[in-house]
Amino acid sequence: MAASHPSGPRDASHGPGAPATAAGDALRATGAAVRDADPGDAVAGVAPRWVASPASTEEVAALMRVSAGYDLAVVPVGGGTKQAWGDPPQRCDLVVGTSSLVLGGGSAVEHSCGDLVARVSAGLPFDVLQSALAASGQELALDGPVPGGTVGGMLATAAAGPRRLRYGTARDLLIGITVVLADGTVARSGGKVVKNVAGYDLGKLFTGSYGTLGIITEAVFRLHPVPPARRWVTTALPAPAAAGESATGFPVGPGALATALAASQAEPSAVELDWLAPSGAPALSVLVEGTAAGDRAETVRGLVGSGRATGVRAEAVRDLAGGGDGPAPGGRVEAVPETAVTRQAPGWWGAPPGEVLLELRIPPSGVDRALSAVAGRGLPARVRGSLASAVLQIALPGEVGAAAFAAFVSGVRADVAPLGGRLTVLAAPAELARLAGRWGPVAALPLMRRVKERFDPGRRMSPGRMAGGL
């Protein structure tokens, strides 16, 4: 491994605290683009000294060897869209930006169309990748939640969107990965074929690693053909009553309806919720993809119709029509049928419901009770996400205040724990998250800690960003 050829002095006279210029010079000497950081480069409020924009895996490796020699803490950054995800790094000397990374041949995507496989540079924005693939009628069957988010960032945060119900998440479509470890070692696992069980799957390990194990520089994905047709079946369910209507307060349980849809043979690709707690009318939207999508959407419409109660409040109808978070422009209420089949997604589809985000995961049968637990806190929380997969995001107003935020988090955590659910703070400024605790209990944390110790014994890779201070 690379550890045996240090590229910088690591003895007492040059170790931590050596003149910053020496480390800076050594970083520049790698040939990678390196500049002094400015205040805008801070990662979750932590200011680095340098920012590097390497163009290749080899340059990343060279930077990492120098960082090892000078004991620099390194934080990889993609599009910078998810800096409030995870705890702030405990230290940060060097930011390694991935957006200039390219593959060997100089491009950022190598698309093997006939094999339905693409090798991709980690710094490539997800939406750019999708448009490149769309030209050949193919796609990476994931949803990029935040515009500008990169492939590497999506893997590192294990972010996924509505179609997880059908296709799984990034880890399910990732078939190969290239990473650079803290000491500069370049390692690959998997390959370019969709079926492969040779060796450990490092790609899985790096999924959700928040930059704490190393830097992802390349990924290989299995692709799917773009479905010939898509339909969204969208409906508004009656708002929850104060009490008494049912155990959960919902006249029609969104979770119960989603479970019925997921169990139907219409095979929806996604069943999504958009709801403003505590008393808004939940909107539910179902995606059907593939040939005969139109016919199948009618089947779904029938299922939704038989599952829901009549009587939709005007406010919900407006939400449906406008598809936005606020009131429709001019307060105009459009006449939308109770359950609409459209060729376009509702405006809220797949978009994060706010800036300050929690993530709720629960066995599907517990969804309705979890939603009423959210309502029970009384805050105006917007809940959005995958009902059938039971992974929901909850947005709280930014001005909520640390104490109320913490009370909400611990209250909902306590309510969902007996249902087998867990609530994590996905994205929040450090001041808010500190009191609440981002992660909640993680059973496998001792094993994760041992993995971290082996991969990054010096704790130099995004230290502290992940659960357990890893």
């Binding site: 931590p16 605290g17 405990q90 230290r91 094999d115 339905l116 799984g168 880890r171 399910d172 990473v179 470890l181 070692t185 370049v186 390692a187 696992s189 390959g191 370019k192 074929v193 969709v194 079926k195 492969n196 069980v197 040779a198 060796g199 450990y200 799957d201 490092l202 899985k204 390990l205 999924t207 959700g208 194990l213 053909p225 479905p227 010939p228 169990a263 043979q265 219409a266 095979e267 593939g290 005969a292 016919d295 199948r296 066995p363 994590t424 450090a430 992660w439 059973a443 496998a444 944390l445 001792p446 094993l447 994760m448 041992r450 993995v451 082996r454 991969f455 014994p457 010096g458 992940m466």
Partner: protein
């Protein structure tokens, strides 16, 4: 038995129920190999634990004595993964066959590791559900073995492998701790990393699997072609046309001949290749795709098409394919089952390469493969009575893997590395790749007691974690930086 094993056996008897520790040489011998029968070793001790706690106690005792242990399910593995250690303990899960929970509302089931793959589907079929990964060995192989091998099946092109259908695992770590790995946990996807680790990171004691809804409609089609090139063109055209069939399997002339001899599957006379295409899903979609597949097959020259009208006819179409491995026993005294993967577009070239190898070495090769994902199962035929034939067959089999690697593929798509292919790992991976994988091993199993000698070519010592900083960072200590 050595003194250490003697003493260990006595201690094991103290933590396990009566009869769960086997030391009788005759009974030990029944465990000497898995499905790869030319690797054999009589285990030092066999234990038949009945619970996770008992497995944890066994593993702890092994740790105390520094004795290696190997987990074993049904022993159907084809890479020697469950090959025992003569100086170790074989932990057999055959007493752990309970389905603990079927939770249809949440579309999942919780099972013990010794439950057979098919038993899960059988338990939920009447409710309209099934467990999707379907290795051909599904009647016998265990879910614990499936997890260890990340097993696939004929339908994994559309539905994925074991790793895509496991929601949580309870494992006993090589330290003897019982730990749950859950797909919903934040942080490193340890669940994903454990699946496919071939028993080298610990022993699975409980598996939560996803249950899938039985599709509304299933159509199975058999297409006969003059030669394998035509069949390959059909596969490319189907997939290039945007269809992802549930399964798309191909057999060449020799494989058909064998299947015909063994099970009289009555495939079309004169076929140089047959393709089995199965489509499933919503009826409207399947009908549409079926018409397209039929059109494509005819366009590239299929001379006969058969469509299964019901479950019996479907079974008849699959019969030849499913019996193919055993069937070659009818046309050859001995054979090697190979498992390699190539990018689908490289199939024609690689098949031609296999033909050349076969001619050069005078060794017949029957080809059966999961065409949709480029997973080849060449059956290398030889006569073990003929001097030197075994060696030539081995050579051909190995060269086929070289071909896969040269074309950017893999040395195994589903049978695993085990002891059989560990020597090929350095051809597919660099030392740095393998050393990095070894870091994972060292995190889970620093003493290397869990199924040692499998997967990786050269066992390495893990050593202490170098320079782990457990306290505050020196910069913080010296007041030159602030901790956040």
């Amino acid at each position: 038995m050595t003194e250490t094993l003697d003493e260990l056996a006595r201690r094991l008897a103290g933590v396990l129920p009566p009869g769960a520790v086997i030391t009788d040489p005759v009974r030990l011998r029944t465990y000497e190999c898995d499905g790869l029968t030319h690797h054999r070793a009589v285990p030092g001790i066999v234990v038949l634990p009945g619970s996770a706690e008992q497995i944890a106690a066994v593993v702890k005792l092994c740790g105390e004595y520094g004795v290696p242990f190997v987990a074993r399910g049904a022993g159907t593995g084809l890479s020697g993964g469950a090959l025992p250690r003569t100086d170790g303990v074989l932990v057999v899960t055959s007493k752990m066959r309970r389905i603990l929970q079927i939770d249809l509302a949440n579309r999942r089931a919780v099972v013990e590791p010794g439950v057979s793959n098919l038993a899960i589907t059988e338990a939920v079929r009447e409710h309209g559900y099934y467990y999707a990964p379907d290795p051909s060995s599904q009647q016998v192989c265990t879910i614990g073995g499936n997890v260890a091998e990340n097993s696939g099946g004929a339908h994994c092109l559309k539905y994925g492998f074991t790793v895509n259908h496991v929601l949580a695992l309870e494992i006993v770590t090589p330290d003897g701790d019982i730990v749950t790995l859950d797909a919903d946990d934040p942080g490193y996807d340890l669940l994903g990393a454990f699946v496919g680790s071939e028993g080298t990171l610990g022993i699975t004691t409980k598996v939560t699997v996803r249950l899938s809804r039985t599709p509304e409609s299933v159509t199975t089609l058999l297409a006969a072609f003059r030669d394998i090139e035509q069949g390959g063109q059909a596969v490319s055209a189907i997939i290039g046309g945007g269809i992802v069939p549930a399964a798309i399997e191909m057999m060449d002339a020799l494989a058909i001949e064998a299947a015909e001899a063994a099970v009289a599957c009555a495939y079309p006379e004169g076929a140089g290749a047959v393709l089995i295409v199965e489509l499933d899903g919503p009826a409207a979609e399947v009908a549409h795709q079926f018409a397209e597949v039929e059109r494509v097959c005819r366009a590239v020259g299929a001379f006969e098409l058969r469509t299964a009208a019901g479950p019996e006819e479907r079974a008849a179409i699959w019969k030849g394919r499913k019996s193919a491995f055993a069937a070659v026993g009818r046309i050859s005294p001995a054979y090697i089952v190979q498992d390699g993967v190539v990018p689908r577009t490289a199939l024609p070239e690689v098949l031609a390469g296999i033909d050349r190898l076969s001619a050069e070495h005078g060794i017949r090769v029957a080809n059966v493969f999961h065409a949709g994902d480029g997973n080849l199962h060449p059956l290398v035929l030889f006569d073990d009575a003929e001097p030197g034939a075994g060696e030539r067959a081995e050579a051909v089999s190995g060269r086929i893997l070289d071909l896969c690697i040269e074309h950017g593929g893999s040395i195994t798509g589903e049978h695993g590395v085990g002891v059989d292919k560990s020597r090929y790992m350095p051809k597919m991976f660099t030392d740095d790749d393998l050393d990095t994988m070894q870091l994972v091993r060292c995190a889970f199993d620093p003493r290397g007691l869990s199924n040692p000698g499998k997967v990786f070519p050269t066992p390495r010592l893990c050593g202490e974690v170098p320079g782990v900083r457990r306290g505050v960072h020196p910069l913080v200590e010296s007041g030159r930086a602030e901790q956040f």
